[in-house]
Symmetry: C2
Subunit: 223 residues, 2 copies
DNA sequence: ATCTTGCATTTTGTATACAACATGCCAAAG
DNA sequence: CTTTGGCATGTTGTATACAAAATGCAAGAT
């Protein structure tokens, strides 16, 4: 966290391609279950098949694609069970982040988080869902940063990225949204009190509520 | 868990290469920090550079290699901090596995685990360290299987694989080993009582003890 | 003597040709 | 009419050639 990174970000071609594909998947341009034709895609992206294949491998590692031998890559189609399992793990990790953060949080950190909580409530008040999600994410990132465990942050990020293939925005109806904001307030209180166990419980329950919301948006899909 | 998979395992060349490299890394033939020359390695393994590169990507995804742009791949060199962070996350995941398992365990499962516990104690009694580790791993796998969350199992496996690059076997002196076996007995008790919270605590502490042992074997290495 | 600068060599990155495999169709047999 | 075998076509897997980048060394300048 100390020192500055002045190196210019040199992204390799596979990385750029992977990022591009990731966006296409998250935005839904590439639907879950869709098969990705290498030649076709490589022409569209303007790269040859080799770097594209490396991009496939990266995305497969993140769980956004599955690769079948001799049958290429396709966008993952997560079942409700998959989502449930992923959330179960993410809740546990988020709880750990809370515990760690409670043990290490400084007053300066708390001030930052209080400011973010303010942003969150304002976004809520004006029903600005995109803004709400942005702040929400910022709070989460900050918490993870305070927790100070890069492996934890990385693991969480990977799991989360996988779920984004679903792109469940929307679906925060009034009651649920109000409750979520209130939960955030409780969480901030537990953190200020340095009560790791309480924060952990709150986070786990918070994630559980989120899971329910996501499952509802998924509706009665397959499996 | 129902039904049999009769499909013959068709491993692709990159998979085979990755598996081979994984073994070389774990066994220490490829030391941490070592740079992997593509041409050289591809000749030694008898594959061309393309599948080898895909193998690199897979291992990098598992965290066994790091890939630097235009500078190839090298075996990760984990710092003590890295190990600490990884164990922190693994302990949390293992705890979750315990909680879930306690909620779903059947009497038949318990019988299996009791048998394994017997194996463990026998291996301990005759100071059979490799055997002990094997049974230890079997118990862990069984627990994860009972927990019934593939995402959890997968995440744990990945983290664990990364640590194996260190190949810390050995280093279980008398006292620690005795204590580990006793802990296993307690864990089995908590599972039999379906006490998820207790099992969770035991597992987290168990992993914490393991971390200490690992850190000792790492000695006063760099960073 | 040390530091820079350019060149030679090595190594990685990308494109592409060719081989292996999968898939769908059609015809022929039951 | 259904099923099976073979073939044609398309798609992925692998090898290799070429391009771009990095590294090490040596010669010259300060």
């Amino acid at each position: 966290m100390d020192g500055f990174d002045i190196s210019i970000a040199r992204s390799t071609l596979p990385q750029v391609a992977a990022e591009r594909l990731r966006t296409l998947i998250i935005e839904g341009a590439l639907a879950p279950g869709a098969r990705l034709n290498e030649r076709e895609l490589s022409e569209q992206l303007g790269v040859s098949r080799t770097p594209l294949r490396e991009a496939f491998r990266m995305l497969a590692a993140d769980g956004l694609l599955v690769q079948l031998p001799n049958r290429g890559a396709q966008v993952v189609a997560l079942s409700r069970e998959d989502v449930r399992h992923a959330f179960e793990v993410m809740a546990s990790l988020e709880g750990l982040a809370g515990e760690l953060a409670a043990a290490r949080v400084t007053d300066a950190d708390l001030d930052d988080l209080k400011a973010l909580q303010g942003d969150l409530e304002r976004a809520h008040k004006r029903r600005d869902l995109p803004g709400y999600y942005r702040v929400n994410r910022a709070i989460h990132d900050r918490l993870n940063q305070i927790a100070g465990n890069p492996v934890l942050a990385q693991t969480y990020r990977t799991l989360n990225a996988r779920l984004h293939a679903l792109r469940f925005r929307s679906n925060l109806n009034g009651a649920k949204w109000d409750r979520a904001v209130a939960e955030h307030r409780s969480m901030l209180g537990a953190l200020a009190a340095r009560d790791g166990a309480a924060l952990r419980d709150l986070l786990v329950r918070h994630l559980h509520a989120k899971l329910q919301a996501v499952l509802e948006t998924m509706g009665q899909d397959k499996e």
